[in-house]
């Protein structure tokens, strides 16, 4: 049994069995979801052992014929980037099960079934090596999230769920058109085969064609990221989703977009990507600053974290479109960091909502007195989120800024502004929520972390520290893969990478 296949099939089987569990016993659904998601996580940890870090290419391949005409293959494999994103998904799913333990009281069985189905979709998106299969997983992941938001969300959940679905759908149908167009030209959906054809020149697009195809892919991904100005679905979806939905949405689903850009849009259409890079970088920077400014004035904690996501994801996009090794590494690392820290922030906000049943900042104050451990954990997460050295985000942001500086120094200056702003809004929120006078309503509703909640936060905090202190254990395979992506983006490009300054050339050679 191939390990990747196992990681994909375990939650799928879990989903089917969860559907068959009795509705009358919610506990059975909870324990089942926890068990299967933990087993999946263990299986994905085993991936680390099998994964050969010295190889940049796809590993652990499973390649089965699914449909013969047109030939569509069930072809999955992992590379240095998708490996970590799969691990991120499998790592967060049991955490989501745990934070939903008491939070979800109605239709428990369906909730956990959808959560497991979501895991299948997400893992599949990162592993698919066939464009068609990729699209299938891409769309399939949409459905459970739609239900998670719509059924178990807050007041405006229906609006948010429909908006989320329609935005993503509108973007992805254009991507489908582009995928079919690619198939008609290349005669295959196999991603590696298409790249081969591009590299050997058997498949070539005119500049105009390439630009349209790139945009068709890019818009679909940019909506998911979300890149300013396509981000408007995100605050609604995040705020209205139940805690587990917000965590999965922010931590993993947004990465589908950035992963798509990195894995598909750049290697397939390098010339168009490079031509658009300055514009996209500007949009990313606008997103960084705009997201931070809007986050600052939010009266709602969840909305604040949601807008901070817009800002953080701007860094990822900026790193990718810097077209430098460091920038790409930073972007990937930042994808993982954001998954951990923002996931943790949403989880912690969710824990506070479970206690106080409010998301408004003004309803809190003095929580540090009532629940010191919760406050400490929240502080560590806040510091990680604003990029304190020795915690994870620092590494990613540093690399991205360095990459951006190599590409265009002005980009780095503007983006660095976002780092400063993030410190402002996060610390200001922390101050208002956790310090100050302890209100009675808070005191009576704010017990400290219980055992289940410790089980949620400890792994997250541990990851923040580990990724901040010893990034090498993650960045090695990432670097190999991003180097390959960078190489692919120089295929058929009329001009070579325009690196400014001799120092930067040294850096890119050093890899």
């Amino acid at each position: 049994m191939n390990l990747l296949l196992l990681v994909l099939l375990l939650p799928a089987a879990g989903f089917l069995i969860a559907l068959a569990l009795p509705r009358s016993s919610p506990a059975s659904s909870r324990y089942w979801a926890l068990a299967i998601s933990l087993v999946t996580f263990l299986a994905s940890l085993a991936l680390l052992g099998w994964f050969d870090r010295s190889v940049a290419g796809d590993q652990l391949t499973v390649d089965l014929l699914w449909i013969s005409s047109p030939e569509i293959r069930f072809h999955i494999a992992a590379d240095g980037v998708s490996l970590w994103l799969v691990l991120l998904s499998t790592f967060l799913t049991p955490i989501c099960v745990l934070i939903s333990w008491n939070h979800i009281q109605s239709r428990v069985k369906e909730f956990y079934a959808f959560l497991l189905l979501l895991e299948v979709g997400l893992v599949g998106v990162f592993l698919a090596q066939d464009l068609f299969l990729f699209y299938v997983f891409w769309e399939v992941s949409l459905v459970p999230m739609y239900f998670l938001i719509g059924i178990w969300g807050h007041e405006r959940r229906i609006y948010a769920a429909v908006k989320f679905f329609l935005y993503t759908m509108a973007g992805s149908v254009l991507m489908l058109a582009a995928i079919i167009y690619l198939y008609n030209r290349a005669g295959t959906f196999g991603y590696a085969a298409i790249l081969d054809q591009l590299a050997s020149g058997r498949l070539a697009f005119t500049a105009f064609e390439q630009m349209l195809l790139f945009l068709a892919f890019f818009v679909a991904f940019a909506i998911k990221v979300p890149l300013f100005p396509l981000h408007t679905w995100l605050p609604d979806a995040h705020v209205e989703a139940p805690t587990a939905g917000s965590v999965m949405l922010a931590s993993v689903m947004l990465k589908m977009g950035t992963f798509g850009i990195l894995h598909y849009a750049l290697p397939l259409f390098p010339a168009a990507a490079r031509r658009c890079a300055p514009w996209i970088a500007v949009l990313a920077i606008i997103g960084i600053i705009y997201g931070a400014l809007v986050a600052m004035v939010q009266p709602n904690m969840k909305k604040l974290v949601a807008y901070s996501s817009v800002s953080h994801l701007g860094f990822v996009v900026l790193g990718i479109f810097s077209f430098t090794q460091i920038g790409l590494d930073g972007a990937v690392y930042q994808m993982l960091n954001h998954g951990i820290t923002t996931g943790a922030l949403f989880a912690l906000v969710g824990l506070m909502y479970d206690r106080r049943h409010s998301l408004a900042i003004e309803d809190y104050g003095g929580v540090a007195t009532a629940a010191p451990w919760l406050s400490t954990v929240f502080l560590i997460t806040t510091l990680a989120s604003i990029g304190l050295p020795l915690l994870n985000n620092f590494v990613g942001e540093f690399l991205v800024l360095q990459g951006a500086a190599l590409a265009n120094f002005k980009w780095a200056i503007w983006a660095a502004l976002g780092v400063i702003l993030s410190a402002c809004y996060m610390l200001w929120m922390y101050q208002r929520v956790f310090y100050g006078e302890l209100k009675d309503a808070v005191r009576s509703h704010m017990p400290d972390l219980n055992l289940r909640e410790w089980a949620v936060v400890v792994p997250l905090i541990a990851m923040m520290v580990w990724m901040g202190v010893y990034s090498k254990s993650f960045l090695d395979p990432v670097g190999k893969t991003t180097a390959r992506v960078l190489e692919q983006t120089q295929v058929n490009v009329p001009y070579r990478v325009d690196l400014r300054g001799p120092a930067s050339t040294e850096v890119s050679r050093a890899r």
Binding site: V136, V140, V143, I151, A161, V173, L176
Partner: protein, 487 residues
């Protein structure tokens, strides 16, 4: 043809499905006064058995494929595909009708007899290779459908639906007949293979006359498939007709009409394809756009599904516009997927509508997931398929159609069509929202418990939808092999 035309056994075997249907339809009508029992149990079960037998007969006939009655009929893969499809639609129409007819206190033998006759007409259309036979099939199917649309005769809306359908339908058939007459005058034949040979041959008639005939037939056929700009009747008829009949109309006659549409335009008129392609292109775009945008505004579920069926006719027209065998195969696949998902969706509507079909608004689906989670789950599968979410037949259908369109360089039609399908997601989602995100209302609370027949009416199309979505190769390979129509 040396053998006697009537008693040639090969001919009869190739015509067996229609013989079975007609004989049993007549028998059912005769049984009614003899048995003096007005129960669907008897006639419905008999009809189901008849349809199953006809399916077997159709498959058996295909084992010895070829023309029948001097080339008037032709049993090929294409014909067999559509025969099985319309017969299957018949089964899926009868299964939910048991409880529906009982609830409306309208259990008669006529319903089933008419249904069998209508299906017999469609089955003839599927296998016809001759313009007059096509016309006869069309009329058999249509006349029975007109009556079925007004089957609940005390219902004002049903009466309106039937009358409208009949009047407009007759006009459309008239146009079709003009086209047939013109073709006969120009080419001296009504056999499609002969017409094709004459049109491509040295003594070809004036292209403009052939084009005129094609345009006239296009009017008639576009009406039958409810493609724009001849779709006006569909919402009123689908809304007014009894729900199982609406389900039937949206799948069976439509599939059969598309079968002859494809057969005529891809054989006889294939040589002048460049002339009618813009017409089909425009009709496809109009149908998709009008259907989807009008559906956004509907509050009545049947009316919404009617507009959605116009939009789906538009998708199939895209396949026709691509004028290739891949396109034909895609259209065949799509019609099969569409039959499953749409008949399934209508079955849920008929289940929920209650006595006198009171509950038809989208609001009435509120909270169905809490009251009857199984029904809601099944309807979700159909709706997701109608939206075109992967792993459902609707997705692969759209995928194959737009793939065929792109192969024929219809880039704009593809882009506009796909954007259309994103618009469509909205109104299907409204039903999902109602079922899952709202608290139960009156309709969901008063919905009847499931009967075995009705469960089958949901499970069978759901299986069909999922199988077409997960293993599309089974059907697509067959469709691909059967798509070369020019004999």
């Amino acid at each position: 043809m040396p053998a006697s035309p009537i008693f040639n056994p090969t001919d009869l075997i190739r015509f067996l499905p229609e013989i079975i249907l007609t004989a049993m339809g007549t028998l059912i009508m005769v049984l009614d006064p003899l048995l003096n029992r007005r129960e669907s149990k008897v006639y419905g079960t008999l009809s189901l058995a008849t349809l199953l037998a006809a399916i077997l007969a159709a498959i058996y006939a295909y084992s010895d494929a070829g023309p029948a009655f001097g080339g008037m009929l032709i049993v090929d893969g294409f014909a067999t595909f559509f025969r099985v499809l319309v017969l299957g639609v018949g089964i899926l129409t009868i299964l939910p009708s048991f409880s529906f007819l009982k609830r409306q206190q309208a259990e008669t033998s006529e319903f089933h007899a008419l249904l069998l006759f209508s299906i017999a007409g469609q089955s003839i259309m599927a296998a016809a290779n001759d313009l007059i036979i096509i016309f006869i099939g069309l009329e058999i199917s249509s006349i029975a459908s007109y009556i079925l649309a007004g089957y609940l005769r005390d219902d004002k809306r049903a009466n309106e639906a039937a009358l409208k359908y009949f009047l407009l339908g007759s006009f459309a058939t008239g146009f079709f007949l003009y086209g047939v007459a013109l073709i006969y005058g120009e080419t001296g034949s009504i056999n499609l293979s002969v017409v094709h040979a004459v049109v491509t041959g040295p003594d070809a008639p004036l292209p403009v006359m052939v084009g005129l005939a094609a345009a006239l037939m296009f009017v008639g056929l576009a009406f039958k498939v409810s493609a724009s700009p001849f779709q006006i009747w569909a919402p009123d008829v689908y809304q007014g007709a009894p729900t199982p009949v609406s389900a039937f109309l949206s799948a069976g006659p439509k599939a059969a009409a598309f079968a002859i549409f494809l057969r005529i335009f891809m054989t006889a008129f294939a040589p002048i394809g460049h002339a009618w392609a813009p017409l089909v292109w425009a009709s496809a775009l109009l149908s998709m756009t009008i259907g989807n945008f009008a559906a956004l505004l509907q509050t009545n579920v049947k009316r919404m599904l009617a507009y959605s069926s116009i939009a789906h006719a538009g998708y199939v027209m895209v396949a026709l516009a691509s004028r290739s065998e891949v396109g034909i195969a895609a259209a065949m696949f799509y019609l099969a997927a569409y039959a499953c998902m749409n008949v399934g969706a209508f079955a849920v509507v008929s289940h929920l509508s209650g006595k006198g079909e009171r509950y038809q608004s989208i609001e009435d689906f509120a909270g169905l997931a809490q009251k009857q989670p199984f029904v809601a789950a099944m309807l979700s599968i159909f709706l997701l398929s109608l939206i075109g979410v992967p792993l459902t037949g609707g997705f692969f259908g759209k995928f194959y159609i737009f793939k065929a369109a792109l192969e024929s360089h219809l880039v704009w039609l593809t882009v506009l069509g796909l954007l259309n399908s994103a618009v469509a997601a909205y109104y299907y989602l409204r039903l999902l929202v109602m079922m899952y995100f709202r608290d139960p209302g009156e309709a969901a609370s008063s919905a009847e418990p499931l009967t075995p027949a009705f469960s089958a009416a949901l499970i069978l199309p759901a299986i069909g939808t999922l199988v077409l979505g997960i293993f599309p190769g089974w059907v697509l390979d067959f469709a691909g092999r059967s798509a070369s129509l020019v004999k």
